[in-house]
Each structure stands twice: as C-alpha cells, then as structure tokens.
Amino acid sequence: MQKLASAIQDMAKKLLEEKKVDLVVGFAGGSLPLRSTPCFIRKPEDAEKLTWDYSCENNLANYLRKREGKVAVVAKGCDVRSIVALINENQVSRDNLYIIGIPCSGMVDRVKADEAVEGKDLLAVEENGGSLILKGKGFSKEVKLDELLHDTCKVCRYGNPVVYDTIIGDTVPDKAEDSFADVAAFESLSPAERRAALAAEFSKCIRCYACRNACPMCYCTECFVDCSSPEWIKKSTDTADNIMFQAGRVFHSAGRCADCGACDRACPMGINLRGMTRKMVKEVKDLFGYETGVGMGEKPALATFTAGDPEPFLVKE
C-alpha cells in the first residue's frame, strides 16, 4: 500500500509539474480509523498528501463534472465505471481527463467494522498480514480483511479499471460472474414480505440525501424530491415516502447505475441501499444485456433502442 501511495504521489507530481493537468483528485489520510478523505491537489509539492489503502471508499467520479481545465483522477475500478458512464452521458470530457487507474481488491466497510466490535468506539487499526486488528479502549479484535469488505466489492468484477491513461499497482484476479444471490433472495419473498423488508429498512432513513449526493449519476439540477410544485413526495420522514424517494432515485438511474455502492457507503444510518439499486442493475442486465460503464462510447441502455429489445410490459398475458 505504501508503495502504491508513493507511486500515486510521483505520478500526480509529474502531471502537475509538466502542466499536463491543473488538478489531481485523489485521497488523503483521514481523521478517523479506516477513513481516507477526498483531496484536491493543485501544486506539485502537495502531491505528498496523496495516499492509497483499503479505506479509499468514496467514488471520486462524483467530483469530475463541471470542472474547468484538465483534471487527473485517482480511480479504482468502480470509479472508472462511473467515469465511463459520465463520459457516455456527455457530463465529463475524456479529452480533459487523465485517469490514474488503480486495480482494487476491495474497500473496508466501516459498518462491518463497527459490528465486529459491537458498536464500541474504534480508536486504531493495525494491519497484520491479511487481517486488521481493530482496537479501542479495553478491546482488540483481529478480523480478516476479506470479511470487512463492502458487499459491493465482494461481487465486483471490475476491480481492474476498464479505461485508464496510466495504471498503478498489480492487476487483481478475475472474479466469477455475479450471481445476484441477494437480489434473488429478495425476489423470492412474497409482496407483503418485500414490503415489510423495505419498510423495516427505510423507517431508519433521515432524508439527509447523502446517498443521492454521493452518487455520481445523481446530478439533476433539481431533484424530484426537492421539487415543491408539484410535490412528488412529502418532505416529511414518512416510511412510505422514504421508500418512494429511494425507488424514484433507483428508477432514475436505471441503466446508469454502475453498482459502485457509493450511495450505500454514504448512508449514515447504515441502510441497505444496494438491495434496491442492484435489483435495477440485474433487471437492466437481464433485459438488455447491458452493464453500465464498461464500454466507452456505448449508449446508455435507456437512451437507445434496438429491434431486439424485449418489451414485456407491452405484452398482455
């Protein structure tokens, strides 16, 4: 990890020194255990702030729209998929972007770490081979790094960036096809059970909109939840409206969501948002054979039409 970080620093420094870019978006060390923080480097001498490890969970594609000048971004596999999706939607110009791709074997889920120590206050984390030692006052617990990874990362098949200008780090091994077992389990429930499961989850929502704002694809100038005439959903925190908000968000990102998990990671209440987002990802994949952000120049699934597209919704059975 240390080696990776210094290679990233060198690259950022070089790009800034040679004036190939005006800005490098990457990660700096954070103020909490298991936490890195997005950072913006404009001077070569500041490049030493850049870091890389299993705590670089934010999706930096979120910071690339509406930028002046040339920008380099330190991007792991899922960030790159979102970047590709944004380029395909004409939100980011490929010509002004320099992608420092980082093969990624997964990011740590802080909720899992908190669960591992039963909600006690985590003060420090040490690495021990393939494990992390989670420490706090009166406890020290060793947990396998693999067990702490985000569920997104466990099934992600695009840890190796699909597009890049330079790549730093060793390629990660290929993974088997995603079975969407989580979605299948949800689908197997009865409608009443599904409603109950969603209600249990979304009764926790505080409508902070961190999920929406963390999503690189949620970039509408006016979000439907903020609109007051007409008022699509209530502004108050009612479970049904919380579900509607999330359902609306997921529908709006159909064929655009890269299954990066940024929304889920941002949620302070630890709500499982991927249950919904992945249902849509699976739906789009099954219906259109389309995966978001894996092919440069592709038209988003819902922005195009082919004669072979299934239209089951038109068929009256």
Binding site: K120, D238, P268
Partner: protein, 339 residues
C-alpha cells in the same frame, strides 16, 4: 442515591407506566434513542447515539396543526404534545445542547409552544461518560463527561450499579417518587473515581476563533473547505444543536396539516427564493454559514457556541470532512478584515 443494574429494567417499567420513556436502544451496531415500552429494550452499552435525542423535543417531522375547510367554515386543531416524558441515559453533551436550543425557541421575540411544552414536560436523566469516544471534544466546548448542565439527574456507572445525583428539583422529585436508596461511601467513592479517570483525549483549541470569524467572511480560506463536501444533511441532522426547520402544508382536498420538518443549511434549497434567486450560490457559502452560525452568529446572539463537541458530524460525514480540522485551519488562517 443508587440504582442496582439488575433493578434498572424494573425501574424503567415503572417509569413507562407514567411517562413516555426514551432510552438508548441498539439498532445493528448503533444506538438510537427510542421510546421503550419495557425496560429490557434499553441498552446502556452505548458510547452515544447515532442521531441525537433532540428529535424527542423537536421532531424531524412535526405536525403543528391540522385544518379542514367545510361549507360551515374553517376549523383548526392545534397539535401540542403535552405527554410527560423521560429521556433516560442522555449524555451530558446532549443535555447541554438542549440548553442551547432553549435560546432559539424561547427568547424575547419568540416562544415556541410546541418545543416549550415538550421541554417543560420532559425529565432528563443523564448518564455520565466514563469512557468518552475518540471524537468527543466536549471539554473544549464548555462541557465535560460529567457535566450536569441541563440535567435533572445524573447517573454514574460504577459496574454493578449506578450512583445517582439529583441536579434539579425535578430530579429530586423523581428520585423520591422512585424511592431510590442511598449510596454508601464506597459507592460514592467509586463514582468519584470514575469521574476522576474519565478522559476526553481530544481537544479543540478555540482561543481566538470567534475573533477570526468576526473578520474573515471574505477570506479565501472558505474556498477550500467545501470542495469535498457533498452538500447533504448527515452533519446537521446528526448535530444536537442544529435547529433549522422548514414549514410545509400537506393537504388533500379540503383537509390538511401544517408540518414542520428539519432543514439543513447544507442544502442548496435552503436559501432558494421563490424568484429563483439563491443568495448562497455554492457549497462555499453554505459551509461558511454552517461554521459561522455555530461559532460566531450564535455567540453574537446568545453568548454561547452552538457546538457541544459530541463528534457526531465527524463520524457521520460520508467524506470525512472533520469540523475539528476546519476550526484549526480557521484559527491558523491569516485574518482579512478588508471589504
């Protein structure tokens, strides 16, 4: 006075017969203050709750009144919540935050009946922090892990039991009603020792902060803090002192109600005018507002800082934008008094 730990669930049951009792309840790895029906639901193995208990007095969504319009005219029904409540196990920082909120909801210009009625009907039973979290900085914000401000009773965990101190008359009355026994000398000594050894490791230097904020509205330093900020409300909704709200009507045909919802200065919509003009055009102005409101305007208005150092905004921010670092940066910045 003393409460044996094994007697606590029974005592909470007894309280719940007369009051709405709110206590920390585990939800996954986190704790939240929830209304409990029986004492066994409460779990005091918490550092602090994920979201502050402010919502018990100032709910995230609160119906102020309902109305209906008929041929005979308009009728209004006000919704003032008069039920008696106990918040059991509130941390000292959160109790202090309510004193700060009182300034907003009860001052020369405004008295808010919704908040104030709940407030006067609520008893605050505090739980001292023997083991403050790494993100707690209450001692830098005029508080502390054993601070009694705003509390009615204060409990100290001594292992098998809680030593109870009455802070207010309300607290004394409640203790008398519960017929709490007296603590013996060794129990009192154990509580004193817990107080002695409780350590808030994190300090935030605020010397000169207000003076800086008084003059740095146009300082270039504000250009940088917001750059990574997502503009969500994870920080403000998890802050025990943030109190901004929005009022909307929820109506269907001739019936409706007026609802007050939490709002956040971090949302662009917060200052959007009907005309379409927005005086706070970017994240820069919004972040500046959040910091200024807490550490300058509130001080100007009420002579107190609107932060109690609970650390929730630090833990809940999805991009690790740490208010402690923002404050340190501001203190270190060159103050510009021009313009």
């Amino acid at each position: 006075m003393i409460i044996a730990k094994n007697a606590l669930p029974g005592l909470l049951d007894k309280l719940a017969a007369e009051y709405e009792v709110y206590a920390p309840v585990k939800q996954g790895a986190y704790s939240l203050y929830k209304q409990i029906c029986n004492g066994a639901e409460a779990d005091f193995g918490y550092v602090n709750s994920k979201i502050p208990p402010k919502g018990i007095l100032f709910p995230q969504s609160e119906k102020l009144y309902s109305y209906s319009v008929t041929g005979e005219g308009t009728s209004l029904e006000e919704c003032v919540d008069t039920r008696k409540k106990v918040i059991f196990g509130i941390r000292p920082c959160d109790a202090k935050s309510l004193l700060l909120m009182d300034n907003v909801f009860n001052n020369d210009k405004f008295q808010d009946p919704y908040y104030l009625t709940r407030r006067s009907n609520t008893i605050l039973v505090g739980m001292a922090c023997n083991d403050p979290a790494g993100t707690c900085f209450c001692t830098s914000m005029d508080g502390g892990p054993f601070d009694q401000s705003g509390l009615d009773l204060l409990l100290t965990d001594i292992g098998e039991a809680y030593v109870v101190e009455a802070v207010s008359q309300k607290g004394k009355d409640l203790a008398a009603a519960l017929a709490l026994g007296a603590a013996d000398d060794s129990q009192k000594a154990a509580a004193a020792e817990a107080r002695e050894s409780a350590e808030v490791a994190c300090a935030v230097n605020t010397v000169g902060l207000k003076a800086r904020l008084d003059v740095n509205f146009y300082d270039p330093i504000w250009e940088k803090f917001h750059e990574k900020c997502l503009g969500c409300a994870a920080c403000t909704y998890s802050c025990p002192t943030c109190h901004c709200f929005d009022i909307v009507d929820e109506a269907k045909d001739c019936n409706g109600c007026r609802v007050r919802n939490w709002d956040s200065c971090m949302f662009p919509l917060f200052t959007l005018h009907g005309s379409g003009h927005n005086p706070r055009t970017s994240g820069k102005e919004r972040m500046r507002q959040r910091i200024m409101h807490k550490f300058k305007y509130f001080v100007d208005n009420f002579n107190a800082t609107a932060c109690v150092g609970c650390g929730r905004c630090i833990k809940n921010c999805p991009v690790n934008l740490d208010v402690r670092e923002v404050l340190a940066d501001i203190r270190g910045s060159e103050a510009r008094s021009d313009k």
